[in-house]
């Protein structure tokens, strides 16, 4: 294989694996920036993966090749609906954020596999999708010598979309007044409240956005990687996204970058075989790498101060 082909494979595989992580990590960023810790991303992804798969299977013959894209939206909506559970528990009912997030992670697989069995005659997994997200070649850009082949040929369109969402998220959080307010309730809800900012509203916004984006993340996973839904469709990607969010210091651009890095790490076991230097390395190292790197980064490079100051604290009025 030529260098160009290898690079193209590495790049596109990385993006395919990174896309679900980017969306979900951005979701986590919104939630935690508003002060609600979100270990329930895994559950939100499961719901997104399940609902998008069901929709895709049901409407593929009507919607044709547009199906996977509309399925993303369906996954987003159901992810959002599911995240209401977390919002109600933490914002209205003062639940511990980690316990509530864990409930999402317990509830999502139970509910989704339960429904899978009901919808698909007792089977624990759905049939395989006919309409899935394939690779995409950018019309003009792919003509650029070398770069066009490596970056813009047979690549993941949804990953490019994810990166755009990451950039938009940064502008939203750091340049708009809604973003400023959302961050303020995650830093010092009491201060925000004295300025007439409704803490609950902005925290709801943060959590629902995380459900929306987490749902997309799960949907992308199902529509472009596993191509069906079962209990093991989402196996740790939610937690990996959480890691990407932390690695990226709760910043949308950082989270996007970290997610791409984890995408690379995840794609290594697959592409490692093509690359001479890596083909002798046991794949267990690639599997462990994202998690081990996160721990190491946390230990050596991250101070405590970077998390939003009131992350995980319930706001009790009049205290």
């Amino acid at each position: 294989m030529s260098l160009t082909t290898i690079l193209m494979t590495v790049f596109s595989t990385t993006l395919i694996y990174a896309a679900p992580l980017i969306f979900t990590a951005l979701g986590g960023t919104f939630s935690e920036r508003s002060g609600v810790v979100n270990v329930g991303l895994e559950g939100m992804m499961i719901v997104g993966a399940f609902s998008s798969t069901v929709f895709n299977l049901a409407f593929a013959n009507v919607l044709g090749s547009a199906t996977p894209w509309i399925s993303l939206l369906v996954g987003a909506v159901f992810g959002l609906l599911f995240s209401i559970l977390h919002a109600v528990a933490t914002i209205n009912f003062r639940a511990d954020h980690i316990i509530s997030g864990t409930v999402l992670n317990l509830m999502a697989p139970a509910l989704c596999v339960f429904l899978t069995r009901i919808f698909y005659s007792g089977k624990g997994q759905t049939p395989v999708l006919d309409q899935s997200m394939g690779t995409f070649t950018f019309p003009v850009l792919s003509q650029i010598p070398f770069i066009g082949k490596v970056l813009f040929t047979r690549t993941s369109l949804v990953a490019f979309l994810a990166v755009l969402v990451g950039i938009a998220s940064w502008y939203f959080l750091y340049r708009t007044n809604i973003g400023l307010r959302l961050r303020s309730v995650g830093e010092n809800p009491t201060a925000a409240d004295t300025l007439g900012i409704n803490v609950g509203t902005y925290r709801y916004l943060g959590v629902l956005l995380s459900g929306f984006l987490g749902g997309i993340g799960g949907a992308v996973m199902a529509q472009s990687i596993t191509l069906n839904f079962s209990a093991s469709t989402i196996s740790g990607q939610g937690f990996m996204s959480l890691a990407a969010m932390i690695f990226g210091k709760w910043n949308p651009l950082g989270a996007t970058g970290a997610a791409i890095f984890f995408g690379l790490a995840q794609s290594l076991p697959i592409i490692g075989g093509y690359i001479p230097v890596l083909s002798h390395v046991n794949s267990v190292w690639f599997q462990i790498a994202p998690y081990a790197i996160t721990v190491i980064v946390l230990v050596f490079f991250l101070g405590k101060a970077v998390a939003p100051a009131a992350d995980g604290q319930n706001y009790i009025k009049g205290k």
Partner: protein, 507 residues
């Protein structure tokens, strides 16, 4: 009838059966500075909470500019032109000064914040009121004085007409207080009305036009400040004549108990205690005066084994104790009443008896072979509750359920019961009522009279002046002077605290 900006009429606020405010009325005129005087727990904060929309009254009404005001949240109060400068600043350390000021009322261009416009508006206000602030700095990097100016600017930016200042001078240097008083006068001169909550009589005399005194939720008196003496104000606040005379016996004060030499301590990689020499003798109270944040906390932490000593030595009764563990230091006879009662001194969800045993639970007789003797721990607790007059239902009640004063008594009991050679007391009376203050002061003097060494660190100058045999002043981590409380005034102390005159050379 005069035009009042704020008129509070017969307001009552109940929490359950407890009346925090009982039929309170007061009026505030345009351009006036009104002081609200009362002890901790007298109901000042409750009253201001209702005026700023955080609480709603049980009965009575508030008129703003002659109209009945209904305020169910802070936004309503803000709309009516009421600006609150909280005692604990309501700022976001991670945000810039500019972001803190505009938060909630951001000028926008499209969906984006218009930072230029915001900065221009604020700069104009800053010039008008002579408020020196740096808009780009992060709040976590600026001084307490500037943080307060940011709070004032927040209210100005929202076009407030009524300013409420809640204990604004508590953490300021004397110079910063002067600056604040100038700002208050400037506000009043521009026709704003100011409510100034405090328990410091001197500041009232200096700045306020009228003073409303409240006690136990009721208005005791409303007086013209210029026609009232400080002593009279104090009596109104407390409700009885105060007995400040303390029974200090003459002590030998020869044998040194604590000897600190050339002590350097760092916090967050900054030198916080720089070359401190300090000696406390038997039967002596040494007061450490200084503005909050000048290294006192780090000094105490180093003395009690909670923070590493960078350089220098600490000796207690001749034993080297720098960088010894907290437990070892406690075993060598150092007791400590810590600054932060609820977060450091006590473990609130544990029982009174367990808290009383916190420094003794680990060795015999309370603990044998790794097992705790709860019977003994509870018995000891019961005895101490009796000896130290801790008002509680039983020794197995949770400490968190006690009042602030009684919680402080638990700490005092625990530390004194161990008969320490050296007692360190850090702001021992902060936030407790006058009765408990008197009690704690008596206990500290008792220790002194029993021949023990006492190191008292306090931000309350009156407390330092009253109790100490000798006063040292800390400024930016150094001891900048030593004075005899008999021959000094709070003015002189204040100057030294600000690092102005190293008095040791003056003498």
């Amino acid at each position: 009838m005069e035009d009042y900006v704020v008129e509070i009429k017969h307001i009552t606020k109940k929490f359950g059966d407890y009346k925090a405010n009982d039929d309170i009325s007061l009026q505030l005129k345009k351009g006036e500075i009104l002081a609200l005087l009362g002890e901790n727990g007298a109901g000042k904060s409750t009253l201001m909470g209702m005026l700023s929309g955080l609480l709603t009254p049980t009965a009575g009404e508030i008129l703003i500019n002659g109209k009945k005001a209904v305020m169910s949240n802070p936004r309503d109060a803000k709309k009516l032109g009421i600006g609150m400068v909280h005692q604990h600043f309501m700022l976001i350390p991670a945000f810039s000064v500019l972001e803190n000021i505009i938060l909630g009322d951001e000028p926008t261009k499209g969906s984006f914040i218009n930072y230029q416009k915001a900065a221009a508006t604020i700069q104009a206000l800053a010039q008008k009121y002579q408020l020196d602030i740096d808009l780009k700095a992060k709040v976590r990097d600026i001084t307490v004085g500037m943080q307060q100016r940011v709070e004032i600017m927040k209210a100005l930016y929202r076009q407030a007409n009524v300013f409420i200042f809640d204990e604004p001078t508590a953490a300021l240097t004397p110079q910063e207080i002067d600056q604040l008083i100038k700002i208050l006068r400037a506000l009043a001169a521009e026709g704003k009305a100011v409510i100034f909550i405090t328990h410091k009589l001197k500041e009232i005399k200096e700045v306020a036009d009228r003073c409303v005194v409240i006690r136990m939720g009721k208005v005791i008196a409303t007086v013209e400040v210029s026609a009232t003496k400080e002593e009279a104000l104090a009596e109104m606040m407390v409700g009885r004549k105060l007995n400040f005379a303390l029974d200090k016996q003459k002590m030998a004060q020869e044998k040194p108990v604590l000897e600190v030499k050339g002590l350097n301590v760092e916090a967050h990689k900054q030198l916080k205690v720089a070359g401190v020499d300090l000696t406390v003798h038997e039967g002596e109270i040494v007061g450490v005066a200084g503005v909050d944040g000048n290294g006192q906390s780090e000094l105490i932490e180093a003395l009690t084994g909670l923070r590493r000593v960078k350089k220098g030595s600490i000796k207690v009764n001749g034993k080297q104790l720098q960088n010894a563990s907290a437990r070892k230091i406690s075993e060598e006879g150092v007791g400590c009443i810590p600054e932060d009662r609820q977060n450091v001194g006590l473990i609130l969800p544990l029982t009174i008896a367990e808290n009383l045993a916190l420094k003794d639970y680990y060795h015999a007789p309370a603990s044998k072979h790794g097992f705790l003797n709860y019977k003994l721990i509870n018995q000891t607790g019961k005895q101490l509750i009796k000896d130290f007059d801790i008002r509680s239902q039983s020794e197995t009640e949770f400490v968190g359920d006690l009042s602030g004063g009684n919680q402080q008594k638990v700490i005092v009991a625990r530390e004194i019961a161990k008969n320490p050679a050296l007692l360190i007391a850090a702001n021992p009376t902060r936030g407790v009522d006058i009765g408990a203050i008197e009690y704690i002061h008596e206990k500290i003097i008792e220790q002194r009279n029993a021949g023990r060494a006492v190191l008292l660190v306090s931000f309350e100058l009156d407390e330092i002046l009253k109790l100490s045999d000798r006063i040292v002043v800390m400024h930016e981590g150094q001891i900048v002077g030593e004075i005899d409380p008999q021959h000094t005034s709070s003015e002189e102390l204040g100057l030294m605290m600000a690092g102005k005159t190293p008095v040791s050379q003056n003498r």
